[in-house]
């Protein structure tokens, strides 16, 4: 295990942070830019994963397992989220015959 940590620490922490931020931002932009619900899910997953990576990096740098344990939880939750999301998507599709989020405009004002 130690060598993995060492390998992780080859790259300085700032890089991880910057990379994760970039990843996160990409996810955000994806959410904002896309109108296809499916793609939006994926972008959200991207955001979550950037957080995962960040946590991993930190935990590696601090030799503290808590972060990595957290990651597992996040993965589980993410999985559940996707499951629910897709289910909802199906339901919505059945009623509106589209997965374009702009079609969701019955409730307003």
């Amino acid at each position: 295990m130690e060598n993995t940590i060492a390998q992780i620490q080859v790259i300085p922490l700032q890089y991880y942070i910057l990379f994760c931020s970039a990843l996160f931002s990409i996810g955000v932009i994806g959410v904002l830019a896309k109108r296809n619900a499916l793609v939006i899910f994926m972008s959200v997953e991207l955001m979550l994963n950037s957080a995962n990576l960040l946590l991993t990096a930190f935990s590696a740098y601090r030799n503290d397992p808590a972060g990595q344990i957290f990651v597992f939880f996040i993965m589980v939750v993410a999985a559940a989220e996707v499951a629910i999301g897709l289910a909802l998507l199906v339901v919505v599709y059945r009623s509106t015959k589209t997965i374009d989020i702009n079609a969701l405009n019955r409730l307003k004002w």
Binding site: G27, L54, F70, I74, I101, K108
Partner: protein, 459 residues
Amino acid sequence: MYAIITISIVAIIVLFFGAIQKKRPLLPIVYVGLTLAFILNLLEWNKSIHYYNEMYIADNFSIAFNAVLIFTTLLVFIFAPVYYKPVKRPLEDIYALILFALVGSLTMTGFGNLLMLFVGIETLSLSLYILAGSKKFDPNSNEAAMKYFLTGSFASGFLLFGIALLYGASGSLNLEEIKQYVILHQHNMPGMLNIGLLLVAIGMTFKIGAAPFHFWAPDVYEGSPTLITTFMATVGKVAAIAAFFRLMNSSFGEVESIWKITLTIFAIATILIGNLSAFYQDNVKRMFAYSGIAHAGYMLIAIIALKQDAAGVLLLYSISYTIATITAFAVLILVREETGTFSIKAFNGLAKHNPTEAFAMTIAMLSLAGIPPLVGFAAKYNLFISAIEQGNLLLVIVAIVGSMISVYFYIRPIVAMYANQPSATSAIDSSSNYKKQIILAAVLMILLGLIPGVIINLI
């Protein structure tokens, strides 16, 4: 802790009974289970036990809030049969999900570790996503669920990133250790922690549905099945605000400077937007959504005015808000059953046929509007006191102006009920214990209004 476990078990049992298509025992089980959980929860009073090396802390704060949450859920379940009268199938899934959501919220109130916070929030949210869409063939319900899901998951993304940054900065997920770290570095805060804190705060703000992250609330509340809306508006909101308060109180009390101004702006925006938007609503359900937003703003004041007894005030406020809202929704459900509309007209002349319901509704409205001597007023004014003692005069003035506006739209249903000619020809029949609950709630509102001290000095 035992409450959480009990409820989870009950939920599973419920699922099991559903699987074998038994309808009758479901609700009794739920009632018994919740009551049991309620008692178990109270048994830990004044012990402040720390479970699983501080993953979960059962101090008086969490216990008091848990009690509120469980009680509220119990009420929701009592209204359930009336709401689901037409449905034949056992509905075990819905019941179970509500219970799971409750578990999530209970976790949130007592988290001692950001991990638990996250898990709690997600447990709550995921269940709510499904519940929001639980009317499968109602496009409104679908849309509500979808919107809730999209925005919610997006927000939890930010929350998560924030937590990650906090972890990175402080090197721990444990509130206590984070606090130590913050106290150590409160003069040279690393920007990472700064940003992390803000992102977490944003995530929480979203969960309590406060401006500027409130946009989901009206649509979701309107679209979801009314019973679920009730649950969301009460349990969901209270749990989130309690968690938020716990987070700020136990870790970041020393570094107000970072988040105080932001939250103040949030609160002001929330109060004004909530009340003003509710002003013009003809759809009562949606109006309550906005009023809920406004009240979230008021609750934010408690966080801004962090003090020892701010917790007590927040508790009082949560109770007053919860009881009033749940009563209002209960009556709304009834009226909806009868007239088939959520419009204000549905209330016309209710007082003629159903004086009890009308009376309860009136009390609830006045309490929400903060008219003395009801609990709503007691809560508001204690809130204002604690804020004004921190020197937030401006905030208080805005809040008061807000409740000034709110009087108008809270009065409208009352006027409709009493002064208008009834649209329904006959009395709306409601089961006797339904009535009992409503009356109980009304009495509570008056009683607590007279002796709020009991609650405030509790924790």
